[in-house]
Symmetry: D2
Subunit: 287 residues, 4 copies
């Protein structure tokens, strides 16, 4: 499926600083950037870099002159997601985890999985496969946590959301990750663009390591697993800021757009979501 | 019902200090101290005081000389608790609360009811009377929180227990209080002696303000509502320390005993607990 | 000194509810309400009550009809504060505390004094009198914490402010209280009106129990100790809400005004603040 | 400098499980394992793996049979640390950071640098170079935090330590990391063996990224920078567990030993520590 993306960020800068933007679609297995354009309204030195462990791409910008900097990114991206029949993902336990997935098993800034082991097993321990547990986690969050814009902030963590029962996509993702890790299911943070997201914004979801594959989950239910484009991969939001600024700058305006280019594109139905898990990365045959 | 109580605390004191002990049974409506003896092994100035709002009694001791101080309290106490048929407590809403119960509605150090409103209503909002909600809170804590000696400390709060799902009687009581207050049910901390408690120790429970009465609840299930003797009443454990010391002293040994004097005394059965709420204070006729 | 006060709160109410307003000046030792008028734009049952332990006054309102409720309070109040020469307050230790001040020594919802004993003694332990310690606490907060409107919320506590180093008057007061209590100085929350406060709002400060007197402190430095009128007294903000609502209602507009009526009124100068501690309650002679 | 190491861990295992041990010295730039022996008292499948991003080595063990498993590691390791004259490390700002150091700049589970920016700049913002700031951080922690065995637990974080002012080596390291990151200095967790550490245990310290080099810091002052052998590198303790167990097992006994083999080895003196920063990895010439 092909998507057209636009993001525009207008920053006000008053003092010289360096910042790292992360708005570009990844070039990664399952995702191909067919065309892209990145521009800054002010002529400044800037450099594109790619993290070799996560694949996240950064534009490093050094701004010397005060003013409004309009950063605009446009791209056409193809994503080859894969539907995996629910219930047929292999049941591979922790003894099969390679060291590369280990960082996604440990607790992180916003996902204190170390504190919620009893709670996770109380809620989901009766389920017998990691896939069932992951699905139940997503379902539980979707049902029990209220989506309330503006209810949380940049220091809100999974434990806060568990207590306060409200948040936004970032908080839903953090809680999903924390609950999965608490049950020894590696889970990682996903940020990206989502088809026709309302209200338009960058989106946050998560992926769980099930049967040797990264399986996509959106506890908010706002995005279709087949309708997202990856920007960042990380342990949690701390790894996936849109902007890591070494100094102060102020966001004045933001535009984010994402549309599937195939007019036949449809969100997965509840029946399809029940019948399939979706992986955004091509993987080995399941058995 | 009459109870015989013993508590003994052996403290090591190295520097002069003042401390306030709270080990005596209250003299309050529904509870009569028939006989008591309080002794300190070292001759020191000491003074008995009673808090006029809560009725809690304190022995203020000033220790000048280093050494081991053995404090021993023995008493015979009569408690007139009242069985209130479940489901028949009047449904009086917040509009009837007098200012005296207000402090027990506000959040306190260990009971952050202000943070868990959504959670409480998610779990218990479908229940239609405060009495049903209070009973469901107690039942939920008893089922979902593991009693694990040594799992918590002096700064553990209701929110921690909600997340970590383990604790001791103090934590169970704090969580019960926080959940009740979050649903606009005033709730207060109770410390006291409990008949044949195993392992022997002071006990912590809570009381909820239902239909104009303080109704006793023990989410640990370790004590029978008719088998307890009140020492302290407060917002939470911060108001009910066994010892408030203005300086450092070390507890070397502790003995706590409580036995019903009537050989016919029996713990309430599950059926009785289902059929009756128990108030430790005599109150006005229900209707 | 006489003050004229106005507060007006416009609430939107959609469902029937009871709420308790606390906007009236206290009638207490040192403070006399010369005249007052309290009105609600909609005719509803309402009742004035006074808490017998704290003296805080509440208007209990029951609103049945949806609509905008404009609550307006106007008063003329006389406050007889007392200047106590700095350094001359008696040094009375914890052994002299009566049970009435004990609740202000214990940790409370927003003032976790139990966690910061080491920190408080590290910062202020070298000072030899409680009065010096209290003054150093106020000075330290004023210097080290940034006043940033909107930086904190209703669940922000003293420990958060200690870590994040920013807040508003409520947070400054909580931190002052927590630090004092951590050094065995009873401290309580004060809410009220402050002369010509900018921007106009209700104000929060604290009082410390020094030498047998409640001494007023404003760590924000925005109010003059002789320019405030007490509304509420409590352990912390949890006891002193402007509005305790048993249901949902929305504040649409707020007006708060306070002016000294004597044109000669002046804020205390830094020199005067250094030379005198101020108590808002008349007390016994110091020695 | 050469070191001889021993660690022995006796675990009681009752149910089959997989666990990952991390007790081996790293094979990394600046550190060479001259000889080593790793043994398990029970014959079980086990496999050595090395994390390709951090270099940490893991022994993956699958235990089927209940019993006591004695794991013993002995090694002789050579470490080539480098003394860098204090004050001469180049002052390279964030604009020079490569993406590899970025993960060590972001907040992590136990190092919430995002919350303490104001505090860090208040304490250390007057210092003009990152090296001075890093040294001041280490000095501040050493002076203001009390080393108290048993005072903290596995969920204690840098923010807790900042508030409670007590902890063990792990907590000291977390606080050092959090404060450095809050000032835009990348910092990472170091676990390892330390020469003649008292009491004998694994040790935790941190490294800060200064002038293009990882510079070693031990805020506890217990280890000499030239007297340590690296086991693990990570964002914080969550990445560097001695044992990641997928199931329950119980540590019954632990032995840890580390001795410099050169009898002339001496701990760096305070004067030397003031004059030199130490890097455990060989690096490019400074200028």
């Amino acid at each position: 499926m092909k998507f057209s993306l636009v993001s525009q960020l207008d920053y006000e800068i008053t003092n010289p600083l360096t910042f790292l933007l992360s708005v570009r679609a990844q070039q990664c297995p399952g995702q191909k950037v067919l065309a892209e354009n990145f521009s800054i309204s002010v002529t400044v030195p800037h450099q594109l870099q790619e993290c070799f462990t996560t694949g996240t791409r950064f534009d490093r910008v050094h701004a010397e002159i005060p003013g409004i900097y309009t950063i605009r990114y446009e791209a056409e991206v193809e994503v080859e997601s894969e539907r995996l029949p629910a219930g047929e993902l292999p049941q591979r336990g922790p003894e099969t985890f390679s060291l590369e997935v280990l960082p996604y098993l440990y607790p992180s800034r916003y996902c204190q999985s170390d504190r919620i082991g009893r709670l996770a097993f109380d809620l989901f321990g009766h389920l017998t496969t990691p896939e069932q547990q992951m699905r139940a986690v997503t379902q539980w969050i979707n049902t029990r946590i209220s989506y309330v814009s503006g209810s949380t902030g940049s220091s809100t963590s999974a434990v806060d959301t568990l207590v306060e029962r409200a948040g936004v996509c970032r908080d839903f993702a953090h809680l999903g990750i924390a609950l999965c890790r608490a049950m020894n299911i590696p889970a990682r943070y996903f940020t990206g663009y989502a088809h026709d997201l309302q209200p338009p914004d960058f989106h946050a979801c998560f992926e769980a390591w099930i049967g040797g594959r990264w399986v996509f989950q959106d506890p908010t239910g706002l995005a279709s697993p087949e309708g997202v484009v990856r920007i960042g991969t990380g342990r949690d939001a701390s790894d996936c800021s849109v902007n890591t600024a070494f100094g102060s700058m102020r966001l004045r305006k933001q535009i984010v757009e994402c549309h599937a280019l195939d007019p036949a594109f449809q969100k997965m139905t509840p029946e399809e979501l029940a019948a399939f898990s979706v992986s955004l990365e091509p993987g080995p045959p399941l058995w």
